[in-house]
């Protein structure tokens, strides 16, 4: 008998083999339903212990041989052995199949998951790379812009300083020129009055020419002083009541208005944001230009008006005259510093007024616009920020 026995599988498969053997013996002896169910548990345990199906066969036949040897009812034992074995193997087989199938599914799932994760890793890697590159570009561009800003700030500072220096220089120069011109004018006045009887007509003509020239020089100095004070000013805007300001300017110009026999119409003027002294100079210059450049053949009429946009954000102030007008070719020149269109005999002036107006307009964020037709009249307009802005 022993010779027939193949290798005893028990030592190889340990607990699983021992359990199977005990369960088989129990069923073969008792034949109970619960004992048969133990076959299922054995198959599961074997599967877990990775016992091969062929080894289950070995374990079974090894145990069965012992049972047959000491069985009393051989036929019944044989039936029960067979039933138990079939139960175990079929459960094992079923479990194995199911397990195998799910292993395949799981393997696929794992592979898929791994692939997706890999893909995600790749994508996020690419994204990170792109983000890094973008970050770098942004940083580089930001640095570049910062450099530019620094550069511009430095240049702006230099420009402001230059402007201020120039303005201070012009101011000092004009101021220092004032007193010698005044002295000169005084001396000429003395000469003209005290020596009237000793100086012939020719000499009187020269003195008169010198006095006129000194007066002109005095005016240029005063206007230059005015202009230089506009340069490099820190604009601290205030609320400016244009109507009130205009009233004051017209009062200042009363003598000129009367001399010109001018009619001045003032429309509704709003409240704006600006520098009062500057806006005042601008208005005064525009109005006195209107009076000065009147047409000789018709009464002088001035209109000072304002139009606001819907929200009172922007206000356009205009001074319109019916004077001699300005040829289109000259309309740019008139805003140039010291530029004039007429001789001093025809229309006195320094060529600073409109340059000053333009400067004021620039300080207030705008520019002086002119519309004019020779022989018909001119209209100068400037935009300001309304007080509602």
């Amino acid at each position: 008998m022993k010779a027939l026995s193949l290798i005893d599988p028990e030592p190889l498969n340990g607990d699983a083999a021992r359990r199977y053997r005990q369960a088989l013996i129990a069923y073969a002896r008792n034949g109970g339903e619960a004992d048969l169910l133990e076959a299922y548990e054995c198959a599961r345990a074997a599967l877990q212990a990775q016992v091969a199906i062929s080894d289950i066969g070995e374990i079974h036949f090894h145990a069965a041989r012992e049972l047959r040897a000491d069985s009393t009812d051989r036929e019944l034992t044989e039936t029960r052995l067979e039933a138990f074995y079939l139960e175990a193997v079929s459960v094992y087989d079923m479990a194995l199949r199911g397990y195998g199938a799910s292993v395949a599914t799981l393997t696929n799932e794992i592979a898929e998951r791994r692939r997706v994760e890999e893909e995600l890793r790749k994508l996020s890697g690419m994204l990170t790379l792109q983000r890094d590159q973008l970050d770098q570009q942004v940083r580089a561009r930001t640095a570049e812009l910062q450099n530019k800003v620094e550069e511009l700030r430095a240049l702006n500072g230099q420009l402001r300083q230059t402007n201020q220096e120039q303005s201070q220089f012009t101011y000092a120069l004009s101021h220092d020129l004032k007193s010698p011109v005044n002295t000169m004018t005084n001396m000429l006045d003395f000469l003209a009055s005290d020596y009237q009887d000793y100086i012939d007509e020719d000499g009187q003509e020269l003195i008169s020419a010198a006095r006129t020239t000194a007066a002109r020089m005095s005016r240029i100095i005063a206007d230059t002083l005015c202009y230089s004070q506009l340069v490099g000013v820190e604009p601290r805007f205030e609320t400016v009541d244009l109507a009130q300001l205009c009233k004051e300017v017209l009062a200042d110009l009363r003598a000129d208005i009367d001399a010109a026999q001018a009619k001045v119409h003032v429309g509704a003027l709003p409240v704006i944001r600006g520098l009062p002294t500057q806006v005042r100079s601008l208005l005064q210059n525009l109005i006195s230009n209107g009076l000065k450049f009147r047409a000789p053949d018709r009464p002088c009429v001035l209109r000072i008006e304002a139009t606001s946009d819907v929200d009172d954000c922007e206000v356009e102030v205009s001074v319109r005259d019916n004077g001699i007008g300005i040829a289109a070719a000259q309309q740019e020149r008139i805003f140039g510093l010291f530029q004039r269109l007429h001789t001093h005999d025809d229309y006195p002036g320094t060529g600073i007024g409109l340059a000053l107006c333009q400067r004021v307009a620039h300080v207030h964020g705008g520019s002086v616009q002119v519309q004019s037709e020779p022989g018909k009249g001119s209209c100068f307009s400037v935009r300001f920020w309304g007080a509602g802005a």
Binding site: E205, L206, A209, T212, T213, Q330, R333, Q339, R340, L341, H342, T343, H344, D345, D346, G351
Partner: protein
């Protein structure tokens, strides 16, 4: 370029070469000064006054205008300055204008102005104000020279 000393030999009498001069200057006192200078130089010169450059252009345009020996031209003038006048006259009168003796007489000592003025063939001299008898004599000599060249 225009040195008075070169022509110093011409003496004050050179001013006598001038019989009629077109004075283009917006300042009436400069006209007055020219008149006095010619008087001082004992030169009987007729001055044709133009207070605007456009008046000088209008004068040149007149077919019956009296002939003149020289043009005294200011640079800084209202509406049309001396350089603009040179451009306009050269464009309008061409060759004929280039034979004129134009003396630019300016307060401006800006070398750019001088360079621009001397770019015109008509401009034979460039002086800074104030004018003097010597400078007027120099212009007289230039006029005599130009007359010889064209005879």
């Amino acid at each position: 370029m225009f040195q008075c000393s070169v022509l110093g030999g011409g003496g004050m009498n050179a001013a006598a070469e001038l019989t009629r001069v077109l004075v283009v200057d917006d300042d009436k006192f400069d006209h007055l000064a020219y008149r006095r200078l010619f008087k001082k130089a004992n030169a009987a010169v007729e001055l044709i006054p133009c207070y605007y450059a456009r008046d000088a252009l209008a004068y040149l345009r007149r077919p019956d205008h009296a002939p003149f020996d020289a043009i005294f031209l200011d640079i800084n003038m209202p509406a049309m300055n001396g350089l603009e006048f040179l451009a306009a006259a050269s464009a309008e009168f061409g060759e004929a204008f280039s034979h004129q003796v134009v003396a630019v007489i300016s307060t401006s000592m800006d070398p750019r102005d001088q360079e621009a003025a001397e770019g015109y063939d008509a401009v034979k001299a460039f002086y800074s104000k104030p004018m003097t008898i010597e400078k007027i004599a120099h212009i007289g000599a230039l006029v005599a020279e130009a007359r010889r060249a064209h005879s």
